[in-house]
């Protein structure tokens, strides 16, 4: 059963086509990887799905209901959370307060929100950072805070936007572990990632896009061996 479906989604900014005729679906329980060279339109796809931008044409279905054109906060309440490639910590709040702010998505009670936040920070293994102000965190922890915050909204679908970028090898391993744990707790995942080793090892399926259009889809192996994908990444001169 598909949880998320993009049907012929196109987005133009002025005359520039950022995403063109994008069609794919994401099954419940899946981890789908989204790859493509810089500027291919990956983050725009996330922005389209979570409602920051409205498609020029086409439709987006989440749990079989149209969500394109809805505001991000509505989409979030429907059970869709995301992280940001360029992290957006609430800098003057502590880590715990950051996560509480997002837990209020599911409760009006401060104590409940606090418990949910404690749980989400524990799940993301950042207990010892809870009382630090988010603005003072090192990059690795900021990226993890993005995940903890998204988790605290109790999503059914989580969009991860380059949560591995800039991490050291140990942090990468830890984050892979956490992502697998999230998946294990019944959350479907759509992930953008540049580190091939990571994306190949955790995705069930991969989609590669270039210039806003889908150029390959399949198992990680199939996509990695696809000539168009290789060209997109290495330049046509290589072929």
């Amino acid at each position: 059963m598909s949880l998320l479906e993009l049907k012929d989604v196109t987005k133009r900014f002025g005359g520039l086509q950022a995403v063109g005729h994008m069609t794919f679906s994401l099954n419940k329980g899946e981890i789908l990887g989204l790859i493509g060279p810089n500027g291919a339109g990956k983050t725009t796809i996330f922005n389209l799905i979570n409602g920051y931008v409205t498609p020029t044409s086409g439709g987006i279905l989440f749990k079989d209901e149209r969500i394109d054109g809805l505001k991000p906060h509505v989409v979030c309440h429907r059970g869709l959370a995301r992280t940001f490639q360029v992290v957006k910590p609430l800098a003057r709040l502590t880590v715990l307060e950051n996560v509480m702010a997002s837990a209020f998505c599911r409760t009006n009670n401060r104590e409940t929100a606090r418990e949910m936040a404690l749980e989400a920070t524990a799940f993301s293994e950042m207990e010892s950072w809870r009382d630090r102000s988010a603005g003072s965190l090192p990059l690795g922890m900021r990226k993890r805070l993005e995940m903890a915050r998204a988790l605290a909204t109790k999503p059914d679908l989580l969009l991860l936007d380059e949560n591995f970028a800039g991490l050291n090898p140990a942090e990468v391993e830890k984050t892979i572990e956490i992502v697998k744990k999230i998946h294990g707790s019944d959350v479907t995942i759509l992930i953008i990632e540049h580190i091939m080793r990571v994306i190949m090892s955790i995705s069930h399926r991969l989609i590669c896009i270039n210039y806003g259009e889908k150029i390959a889809e399949g198992t990680p192996r199939e996509v990695a061996d696809n000539q168009q994908v290789i060209d997109a990444y290495l330049g046509v001169a290589h072929a």
Partner: protein, 316 residues
């Protein structure tokens, strides 16, 4: 700590018993009124990050609503009803102003509120049948001792303080801070930023309107140039809050004491041109205490204990 608080509260309550000096009471009443204004502005500007350059709009509407209803209402409103109605009318106006201005962000929001406040001032000057134009509204005093007014404005300030403290410890408070820190992130975390910004504005406007109605009752006179003043209300309330410390519970109070005290000293001491020194004081404070006196104090304390920076919901 608790004993100190009880002692402080008792002292504040007993002041009018201890002194009947009208000058001292007048100063204290002005301080408390500015505490109300500063706290209200702080909720919207400091905690929610929506800096308004036009809070005189709500102050003026509160004052005029009370003035018009007490003077010409059928039946004429009592001073008490005026306070409440002033707050309510300001809240309704805030809903309209918010609906218009919250489409804009940052400095554009600030300037658009200022523009609308100026439009309201011009309406108050020109709509003579309703407002008596530039001549203003003159009332007969409802209470004849300053102690009454002291307790009324103290009650408003206390209520405002309690409401803000309650709000800042609830879901609303976390949402306000999230909006201030990053509006886009807040949206993605499920926060309807337009709605919550409006809530913050409505609470802020209600108390500002009440302060306006109180001002009318206390001074028994208003005119558009006073209550809708950009300089003496809209800008001054920002200064009071920022000098004391934005996004702190006690900042507005510290700022209000400082403002009334300093401007009084300069006024008595220098007569004309006393605002030169007030201006210099502002410049010096902003350069050396960018987050206000309480804010900078908190930061230093936080540095000592290596905890959060400032302005979280728990900070004092």
């Amino acid at each position: 700590m608790k004993a100190a608080r009880i002692l402080g509260a008792a002292a504040v309550l007993l002041i009018p018993v201890a002194t009947q000096n009208p000058y001292v009471l007048h100063m204290l009443i002005m301080v408390l009124m500015w505490v109300v204004l500063g706290q209200s502005w702080n909720l919207l500007g400091g905690y929610t990050g929506q800096v308004s350059f036009g809070h005189a709009a709500f102050f003026g509407i509160g004052a005029y609503t009370a003035g018009i209803l007490i003077k010409g209402g059928a039946p004429p409103a009592t001073a008490w009803a005026g306070l409440l109605l002033g707050g309510l009318t300001a809240t309704i106006a805030a809903a309209v102003i918010g609906w218009i201005c919250f489409r804009l962000r940052g400095p554009y929001f600030a300037l658009s509120v200022l523009a609308l406040a100026e439009v309201l001032r011009l309406v108050a000057v020109n709509w003579k049948q309703l407002t008596n134009g530039a001549e203003g509204i003159l009332l007969i005093p409802a209470f004849n001792t300053k102690a009454y007014y002291y307790y009324i404005v103290l009650a408003i300030a206390a209520l405002n303080f309690v409401v803000i403290r309650f709000v800042m410890r609830s879901k609303l408070g976390y949402y306000f801070l999230a909006i201030r820190e990053d509006q886009d992130a807040a949206e993605s975390l499920g926060i309807d930023t337009t709605k919550y910004k409006l809530y913050s504005l409505l609470i802020s406007a209600f108390f500002t309107g009440m302060a306006g109605a109180f001002y009318l009752n206390y001074m028994n006179f208003i005119d558009p140039g006073i209550v809708f003043s950009i300089h003496d209300v809209s800008i001054m309330v920002i200064l009071v809050t920022m000098l004391g410390g934005v996004a702190t519970y006690w900042g507005p109070a510290v700022g209000a004491v400082l403002y009334i005290l300093v401007s009084e000293i300069f006024r008595v001491w220098l007569k004309s041109g006393h605002l030169v020194f007030f201006g210099i004081l502002i410049i010096v404070l902003i350069v050396f205490f960018p987050n206000g006196i309480v804010g900078t104090w908190n930061e230093r304390a936080a540095k000592r204990s290596r905890r959060r920076v400032a302005a979280g919901p728990e900070t004092t």
